[in-house]
């Protein structure tokens, strides 16, 4: 009797355990996803409320007020700032990609004296918080330390972009990937009399889509998200980027939660769209080239 019960249990157990196990795993994942999603839902929901609704606090607005977005857009002068952010981000990204690709290729493929020392010297800057380099960098841009072409770079595009035109992280990530490309590729190209620059642009880069996307997205986010540096080097409106606009909306609009939630949604949308487009290559880029080595 007991024996048969045990036997029956042993037969039954795996399947039910598996099902219950799987269900609880899904519950864990769903809970995690809910925690991630809730703030975003709160943001969108609040951005569509009237001032009264944000104070009385419902979970959802009575009738969605899309005009909040228009108001936020006007009040935060987003029309100017959005364009500024696009130009600043595009410029720094172009610079970042150029310098990182060239440097990463050299560190991965070329033999030159002092290669390792220079590489690890660059990597060591990843440990340094931005707040520590901020002050001297600001003095450099102001033209106090070394003479700059055109005098002070405050309130200029180059002042906002040049310091971010290289990053040790991007170089590291690309180098990890370039190193794993087979040497035979170069040997084959060598026979055709191909120079390093041509080899890099025609063969290496087309093979490196995932790491290039990863580096680009990180560069894009860093530039789009920058608040500190623009606060320092822009004293006038001309080149103020989006995040400075959002920040002043938050400090000036104060109690008008619905407005700065609309503002936050606006600043977040471009990155959200880009992320959904490239997320697969992106996470794979991080997983494969971010760790090993």
């Amino acid at each position: 009797m007991i024996e048969s019960a045990v036997q029956r249990q042993a037969v039954l157990q795996p399947k039910t355990v598996l099902r219950i196990g799987r269900l609880s795993l899904y519950l864990v994942l769903a809970a995690g996803a809910a925690v991630v999603a809730l703030p975003f839902c709160w943001m969108v929901s609040t951005s569509l409320m009237s001032l009264g609704e944000t104070i009385n606090r419902q979970w959802l607005p009575g009738t969605p007020r899309w005009q909040n977005y228009q108001t936020a857009w006007m009040e935060a002068r987003f029309a100017v700032y959005f364009m500024n952010s696009v130009i600043i981000t595009a410029t720094s990204l172009a610079g970042l990609l150029t310098t990182s690709i060239l440097a990463a290729y050299a560190f991965a493929r070329l033999q030159f004296a002092g290669r390792e020392i220079i590489f690890f010297g660059l990597l060591s800057t990843m440990m340094i918080p931005e707040a520590m380099t901020l002050l001297p960098s600001f003095l450099i841009i102001r033209g106090d330390v070394i003479p700059l072409p055109g005098g002070s770079w405050l309130n200029t595009l180059q002042g906002l972009t040049v310091p971010f035109m290289a990053s040790a992280f991007s170089i590291f990530l690309l180098r990890q990937f370039f190193r794993r490309l087979p040497v035979e590729l170069w040997d084959a190209a060598c026979i055709d009399g191909c120079g390093h620059l041509r080899f890099l642009t025609t063969i290496v880069l087309p093979l490196s889509k995932a790491p290039l996307l990863t580096v680009s997205l990180f560069g894009f986010i860093a530039s789009w998200d920058s608040l500190l540096w623009p606060l320092l080097v822009t004293t006038r409106e001309t080149w103020r980027p989006l995040m400075v606009g959002l920040w002043s909306l938050v400090t000036e609009a104060g109690a008008e939660t619905h407005l700065f939630m609309a503002g936050a949604t606006i600043t977040l949308l471009p990155i959200l769209v880009i992320y959904f487009l490239v997320q697969r290559q992106f996470t794979e880029g991080i997983m494969t080239s971010g760790l090993k080595g």
Binding site: L25, Y26, V28, L29, G32, A33, V36, A37, L38, P39, W42, I55, N56, R57, L102, A103, Y105, L110, Q111, F112, R115, G121, L122, T125, M126, I128, P129, E130, A131, M132, L134, L135, P136, S137, M165, S167, I171, H196, L217, I221, D225, L227, L228, L231, M243, L246, W247, V250, M261, A264, T267, L268, I271, Q279, R280, T283, I286, M287, G290, L291
Partner: protein, 388 residues
Amino acid sequence: MPSRAFRLPEALGRRLRRREAREQLIGYLFTAPAVAVIALFGLFPLGYAFYMSFFAWRVRQGPFRGLRNYGKALGEPDGVLIFAGAVALLVLAAWMWRRARQTVPERRLLGLLAAVALLVLAITAAVTGWGRMLETGDVKFLNALPVTVYYALGSIPLQLAIALALACVLFQNLRGSAFFRMVFFLPYVMPTVATATVFRSIFSSRDTSMANQFLALFGLEPQQWLAESRPVLEVLFGWQLPDFWGGPSLALASIILFGVWTFVGYNVVIFLAGLGSISGELYEAAELDGANRWDVFRHITFPLLSPVTFYLALIGFIGALKAFNHIFVMRSPLAQGTVNTASMVIFDTFYLANQYGYAAAQVVLLFLMILGVTYAQNRVFGRSVIYD
């Protein structure tokens, strides 16, 4: 005949040498732009900050001040010396502990007791020295140290634990795991200024903020969250512990929660990469030996993931030091500086108070601290990491 035999390698050698020289040149040319930018805006500033720290420098360079900027930050030398002595004692205690564990049993107990005594002495000296430094130095700057430590200790273990759990679940190859991976990663890629703005309203002190409504679901009293300068332990249990032992303020705890929310996804992805690199044979072998899931996790997964965990802990520590944008957006004057990490304090000295020379001295002190902690972290945890 011999001449011919010689000439060929010579010509070949010359061509090879020329090619090598060319490669050298190209190497330098390719790295030059990146090196120039990083050297100018990443490395040079540290040296320049060191130079600036010896001057009175308010917007423009002023007279030489020697070490007075450092004195202003740290207070009278005696306090600093006592504190430094405490750190030395701590190192000595750790060394004795390790030595004692390796010696013969008869002397082990004695060694361990001596190590513990040294530890107690070190803590006493640290408290005394620190108290003296707080009396005579810059409280605003010195307080950044416990705040940064709270931030690191509060966020790193929490986000590692959550991320490891989620990564293990995702690794089971359930249907839809790619979707969940994408969702978990979302907070990490979103602009911090925007998400911090959202959390600023979630953790606002209004009765109707999301955090307070959540408390209300369980019938709890509304809290001040980001505007609360009292320590968490006092808010939760009414314990009034002195100084450091009180723990982070509720405001800082809210910011820590934001940090965890942001970084869990990144840690999940890196853990997944680590899990993927553990060979399946080990699991099969363990299964044959009749190990259950928990055993497998404890004896295979966790030890083999230790390099990844160590890497993520290091990244988390650097992240705590770098933490800026979200604190800048979420901090409220009502939190009374209990959320100001080292980066924030340096920024305030520089940007709000315009004391450039003094801010530079703070930069140098923070740099020394980073070096010290990184070294210690490598010595202490680097050892227990298992590389295969």
